[in-house]
């Protein structure tokens, strides 16, 4: 029963940790707007965590610059299992307009398995909510597969 309780709860309280990997701040602002009274992601249990140790979902924005790459990977590795990695906006998926720049090391999927891509430049808050809800579902599945 306890295990079922945990599994049920996992999908209902995903906490986010946001990493800016060289983003233009467009996606960052959209992510924060998800938490405002207008969209209020907290009603779905989402919460922005302050430390990667508390997080379930890592949201990466930005094209993953060479400077940020080791930091991003280190921070992602510090998130306890089960975890879910969400790329937000086009940049971390492909590099977008920054592709081919000398300083861009992306896309992120070259280095870590990405679970959910939210496209858009920047995505609409509704799309972010969609993406996070999908991530929460994946999280629950991952939790079910543990142990």
């Amino acid at each position: 029963m306890f295990k079922k309780l945990i599994e049920e709860s996992t999908g209902r309280s995903p906490w986010l940790f946001h990493i800016n990997a060289g983003s233009c701040n467009g996606c960052d602002i959209e992510l924060v707007s998800v938490l405002t009274p207008r969209y209020d992601a907290e009603r779905l249990g989402f919460k922005l965590a302050g430390s990667p140790r508390h997080a379930d979902i890592v949201v990466v924005t930005g094209p993953v610059t060479k400077q940020s790459l080791p930091r991003v990977l280190r921070t992602i590795s510090q998130v306890p299992e089960p975890r879910c990695i969400v790329t937000m906006g086009s940049c971390p998926q492909s590099g977008n307009v920054f592709r081919g720049s000398y300083s861009v090391a992306g896309p992120l999927s070259k280095y870590v398995p990405v679970d959910v891509d939210v496209a858009g430049c920047a995505p609409k808050p509704e799309a972010v909510i969609d993406g996070l809800a999908l991530a929460a579902k994946i999280l629950k599945e991952k939790r079910g597969r543990m142990k």
């Binding site: 430390s51 940020s68 991003v72 280190r74 921070t75 590795s77």
Partner: protein
């Protein structure tokens, strides 16, 4: 057989307890070249002293006798005491037991702690002299002998402060201590002389009989001189900077004696003169004097401690802060207050001894006590850490350790005093005491973070746990801390209440030496009932059950499902979160940890900073100014 029986009569034990220490000192000075001989001699003498003190519990505390002992069969001639007398009532024995315990543990600790120093022979000679001085002072029945013993212990303490004279500041600290300590001794001497001129006797019991009836300007001045003189020994404000310097420089085992025992002997002196010699504690103004000085010591020293960044200096300031508690409680002049103060005196000796020994252990292994250079020692010295935490929680008054039990009594005593006397000032004292307690906690949080938790500086990677002997010594103190905290009723019933009762029965004290005590001013102790309840054992039991329940529930909830770093190489998963950066050494300095607090008090702190100039001339001036004020006060009110 008769002779042996005579020799082993408990009447002689007080002088044995003193003399074994002095004998040990002389023997080590004479034959202490060999390390083993020296250690055995030192251990023998401190153990013997402890045993003799313990054997006195039965007659003095349980049976309530007062041992009046005349040395060399001389006693009273022509109505005046002419012999050297020892007089042991429950109060004296209380302090003697305290001293013997601390001396024993610190002596055991010294054996390994001092093994890296040279001149060990001189160390033990001086150490036992210091101990003998303390023992002699608290058991003496003679004011002049008290002065002699004070001189012995002051000079031994000065010499021991400068013992590690290669260390920075040691000689300077000793010099400051010497100057102000000698001023204090001189005050005591002058006070004694003035009393002698007025009463023609030096015996404490006879003085207690004669002085209160014959108060004149000279005796009033003598009171001020004695009070300030013993105040110097207790390092109460304004003599606290000396303690900081002396503790910072002295070896930890000596700091234990200076803070745990020497200051107590100062308190003992103050109790003797205020309660016995002058019997002036019944006066509201005299209570005000003690409580005022006590509260100021309590608060000023705890704030000074918050600003320190040296482990031992910080402990030194706390030491005076705790002495402030004792003095405040003693100054209340109620049975509860005195009992609480004496309880706190025991506890202070225990936890402060433990903390100084822990500081010594850190110094012994790392070579520094600077809070900004230490950190993360918990992984290298786990036992020391646990012992230190017991001491830190005790001094901060966290239940169920002993500091809480005595502070709890002190709060009640001050509040009850406020209610009884209708004086709202005592209420302020309760509030100050409570705030001081939380500030104490704050500074020990700072120490535990800066020394034992946090990150290990790379240069301290090779630190090892201290040897078993040192841990054993600390363990004794820690055990006593827990025991006195868990069984407050036993401590109050068998130690502090008899001692407090002794302080209120001056008449018996006088009569025990064969004088007429009928004229003594009896101070009414008054009865008391606790305003609250505190059952540490049951509380601990409930806490254990709750902890067990929580632990079982947590383990059932896979609390033990932790993932630990298995590889030697730095797996980034197990590194600390540094905002994504690679883990590097970063330890919050202990210096300015509570700036949110200090920022609001910056005026006060900068004032204090300017006041504590570190110049010995200033401190001497403070002593004189203090004397002048107290003298003025006593001339007016006595």
């Amino acid at each position: 057989m008769n002779l042996l029986g005579n020799v082993l009569s408990y009447q002689h034990f007080p002088i044995y307890a003193i003399m074994v220490l002095f004998m040990g000192s002389f023997l080590i000075a004479a034959f202490g070249e060999n390390r083993r001989v020296r250690n055995i001699l030192a251990l023998l003498s401190i153990t013997a002293s402890l045993i003799f003190s313990l054997l006195l519990i039965n007659p003095v505390i349980l049976r309530g006798e007062i041992i009046g002992y005349w040395m060399g069969a001389r006693s009273i001639a022509g109505g005046y005491a002419i012999g050297i007398a020892l007089e042991v009532d429950a109060l004296s024995l209380f302090f003697a037991l305290l001293a013997a315990c601390a001396i024993f543990v610190s002596g055991v600790y010294s054996i390994q702690y001092m093994s890296r120093d040279d001149n060990e022979k001189e160390y033990y000679t001086l150490y036992l002299l210091l101990c003998g001085g303390v023992m002699g002072m608290v058991l003496s029945g003679d004011l002049f002998n008290m002065f002699i013993m004070v001189e012995i212990l002051t000079f031994a303490a000065v010499a021991l402060t400068a013992f590690r004279n290669t260390a920075r500041g040691a000689v300077e600290a000793a010099f400051k201590y010497l100057v102000v300590g000698c001023m204090g001794s001189t005050f005591i001497l002058v006070g004694t002389a003035m009393l002698y001129a007025q009463t023609h006797t030096l015996n404490l019991a006879q003085l207690a009989q004669l002085v209160p009836g014959n108060m004149n300007t000279a005796t009033k001045a003598a009171f001020a001189l004695l009070f300030v003189g013993f105040g110097t020994k207790a390092f109460i404000v304004p003599f606290h900077p000396l303690a900081a310097d002396a503790h910072g420089a002295a070896p930890a085992s000596v700091s234990v004696i200076i803070s745990g025992v020497l200051t107590k002997s100062g308190i003992y002196g103050i109790i003797r003169i205020t309660y016995f010699l002058f019997q002036s504690m019944g006066l509201g103004t005299m209570q005000f004097l003690l409580v005022f000085i006590g509260s100021v010591s309590m608060f000023v020293c705890v704030t000074m401690a918050l600003a320190q960044h040296d482990f031992k200096r910080l402990l030194a300031f706390h030491s005076i802060s705790q002495i402030g508690y004792v003095l405040t409680a003693v100054g209340l002049c109620t049975a509860l207050g005195l009992s609480a103060g004496l309880y706190h005196a025991i506890n202070h000796t225990l936890f402060k001894g433990l903390l100084f020994l822990a500081a010594g252990a850190v110094l012994h292994e790392t070579g520094t006590t600077d809070l900004n250079k230490l950190g993360g020692l918990a992984r290298k010295m786990p036992h020391t850490t646990v012992l230190f935490l017991i001491g830190a929680l005790s001094i901060s008054g966290v239940p169920p350790f002993n500091g809480f039990a005595s502070k709890w009594l002190i709060y009640q005593a001050t509040y009850q005093k406020a209610v009884e006397s209708g004086n709202i000032g005592f209420l302020l004292v309760t509030v100050i005491a409570l705030i001081t307690s939380v500030l104490t906690l704050a500074s020990f949080v700072k120490v535990s973070h800066s020394v034992f938790f946090g990150q290990l500086p790379p240069e301290l990677e090779k630190v090892k746990e201290v040897s078993w002997g040192m841990r054993f010594a600390m363990g004794i103190f820690a055990l006593l801390c827990i025991v006195t905290g868990l069984f407050p009723n036993l401590v109050t019933t068998y130690l502090t209440e008899p001692a407090a009762a002794a302080a209120f029965s001056v008449q018996r004290y006088i009569e025990a030496m064969g004088f007429d005590g009928s004229a003594a001013v009896e101070i009414l102790a008054g009865s008391f009932r606790y305003a609250g309840v505190w059952e540490p054992v049951s509380w601990l039991l409930v806490l254990c059950i709750a902890l067990l329940a929580v632990t079982i529930a947590a383990l059932a909830g896979r609390y033990d499902n932790v993932s630990l770093c298995r590889t030697a190489a730095g797996d980034s998963k197990y590194q600390l979160f540094y905002g994504g950066e690679e883990q590097s050494f970063s330890q919050l300095g202990g210096d300015d940890m509570f700036w949110g607090f200090k920022h609001n008090w910056r005026g006060y702190f900068s004032f204090m900073h300017r006041l504590h100039s570190g110049i010995v001339n200033d401190y001497a001036l403070w002593a004189v100014a203090d004397l002048a004020l107290v003298m003025l006060f006593s001339l007016i009110v006595l």
